[in-house]
């Protein structure tokens, strides 16, 4: 166990370096000339402008040289300058990271909540209608494209019913809270702005539900399996014999023990949510890393693409590492190193 964790931790920096290298190389073996997106197509015929831009952005140096410079800058937290926003990529990312984290954390909470509820119900009514409906609901959430289900819920709850606000993080007429943590939920509270806080929560509800729905199935399947496992044990029988109410047995005795294995997959769902966030943010006009990645890719903004890919890769690596470790700690029967990636 200890040896496994150490091995994984030692491998981390190498994998991270691999991620950086691949991300860097990908955007440099490119068919499109990055200069087009820097100086615009019309100026491409002007050799002086082209040469100046080449020098200014370091594109006149050889690839290994550019790579080493990039690595050196990364160490100091410098991801380069975005072609599009003309801001340091690191600054763009830091400003946008809280929005993504807020969305992903809210989605994780909602998805886990749905998942546990469905899983408990499915285990309680095993093989019945509720069990099958729960499975279908979770399966649809995992299979439907978020950029489509997002549109549908926006249409139904925002346009038709008018219950919830449309895209964005806060009411368009409201002023964004002063930047402290970047989490609007926390920042509005710190500013004592209750109407703002309410608006932020309401704006968060739809995108977080849509995104959380995608991981509901992962959680509910796990909860159902471990609940069934727990429910067949003798202490449950003992609790029933003692006269504990069915609900109490289910929630107090069974669920508490069934939760342990469930905790392990939260890391896994986190990795899954990073992917979903990219598309959810686009639909909900959410100013996070995901929508930044999309506009960077559309605009052939190479420094931004490399930066986002590296950050995404790092987050993914850490989430996967934590999942594997949690998995190993909770369930020693798991054979480490034998897990196939998916």
């Amino acid at each position: 166990m200890f040896a496994y964790v150490t091995k994984r931790l030692i491998a981390m920096p190498f994998l991270l370096l691999g991620v950086i290298t691949v991300a860097f190389l990908l955007t440099h073996f490119t068919a499109a000339d990055p200069l087009t997106s820097i100086i615009g197509e019309r100026q491409m015929n002007n050799p002086e402008v082209v040469e100046a831009a080449r020098q200014r952005w370091g594109l006149d140096r050889s690839l290994p040289e550019q790579y080493l410079v990039y690595l050196g800058n990364l160490v100091t937290g410098d991801f380069g300058t975005s072609f599009r926003t003309r801001q340091p990529v690191a600054q763009d990312l830091i400003l946008r990271l809280p929005a993504t984290l807020e969305l992903v954390i809210a989605a994780m909470m909602l998805g886990t909540l749905f998942g546990i509820t469905l899983g408990v119900l499915a285990a309680r009514f095993r093989g019945g209608v509720i069990d099958n409906l729960a499975r279908l609901f979770a399966l649809i959430g995992a299979s439907a494209p978020v950029f489509w289900s997002g549109l549908l819920v926006l249409f139904v709850f925002s346009v038709q019913l008018g219950w919830l606000p449309g895209p964005g993080r806060i009411d368009a007429r409201a002023v964004a809270p002063p930047f402290v943590t970047g989490f609007f939920t926390i920042d509005t509270l710190l500013a004592g702005d209750w109407t703002g806080f309410r608006s932020v929560l309401l704006h968060l509800l739809l995108p977080a539900s849509v995104l959380g729905w995608t991981v509901t199935g992962i959680v509910s399947r796990m909860v159902r399996a471990s609940m069934l496992d727990v429910l067949s044990q003798e202490y449950i029988l003992a609790a029933r014999a003692k006269g504990a109410s069915p609900v109490r047995v289910l929630l107090h005795h069974a669920l508490r023990n069934a939760m342990l294995p469930t905790l392990t997959i939260i890391g896994f769902s986190f990795a899954y949510l990073i992917t979903g966030a990219v598309l959810t943010e686009t639909i909900f006009a959410w100013p996070g890393i995901g929508s930044y990645a999309v506009s960077a890719a559309r605009g052939l903004d190479h420094p931004a693409i490399v930066g986002v890919t590296i950050i995404g890769g790092a987050a993914f690596l850490i989430a996967n590492l934590l999942t594997d470790i949690a998995y190993a700690v909770v369930d020693p029967r798991v054979k480490l190193g034998a897990k196939a990636g998916a």
């Binding site: 994998l15 691999g18 399966l139 439907a144 494209p145 249409f155 890719a297 993914f316």
Partner: protein
Amino acid sequence: MSILSSRSASSRFVWPEWATLPLVGGGVVILAWIIIGLTIPWWTPYDPTNLAGMRFQPPGAEHWLGTDALGRDVLTRTLYGVRHSFPIAVFVIGCAVVIGCTLGAIAGYVGGWLDSVIMRFVDITLSFPPILLAMAVTASLGPGLGNAAIAMVIVWWPIYARLMRAQVLSVRSREHVEAAVASGASRSRVLIKHILPLCWSPIIVNATMDFGQVVLLAASLSFIGLGAVPPTPEWGQMISEGAIQFYRWWIALGPGLAILSVVLASNFLGDGLRDYLDPRAS
């Protein structure tokens, strides 16, 4: 004997044991899409890229799923969409399986430094969130469905390399392989004749399940604007047109349901295949 039993049951159709609900249900949906894709030009009244009526007509008798911003029939475009999604998914899965399985088998069978090199590539590639990697690759190759397909092959091959390597490692220690080696079979013969034939079932199950995932990712890339370009009737591209007019809900409805049906069907089909090919795993 089988003839006798089937004759005695002639009054009532008896499901064969392999025909479980997920397997048949998933198979029927995928098959239906394939038939639609192959035959569609002969039976739709409308053209997928030309004006079919008034703009923005809601669903009705003339246009079952309404018309879009250019007055094109949404249902027709949705059905034509399979002609883009399925070939791409087949191409991506095919290439990923061939590349991944070849490298995975070599890694697992040869071992040593070759194994290390291949598997480090696998580890690094799998360290990226799939959509970000696909976006980065497509962005640098240039937008377009073909480039999106190449990007997805890059995303998918390591999964098969890992799977195949694990399979080869588990099969190569079996007794019949030892017997083949002892009887003097060459290394390549042992691999091809004695190991690989026993490795395929998880690959087939995974490839079936991934089919829907590839369709989904291809649509996502098109939705973002890195895949299909207008006026291609591609599902992700159509949903992005619907997103611009999202209070006209019917524009995105058809393509969304189409993607959902393919992803669900390939999931069910994969599940059913796993139960059939490897009953112990479920």
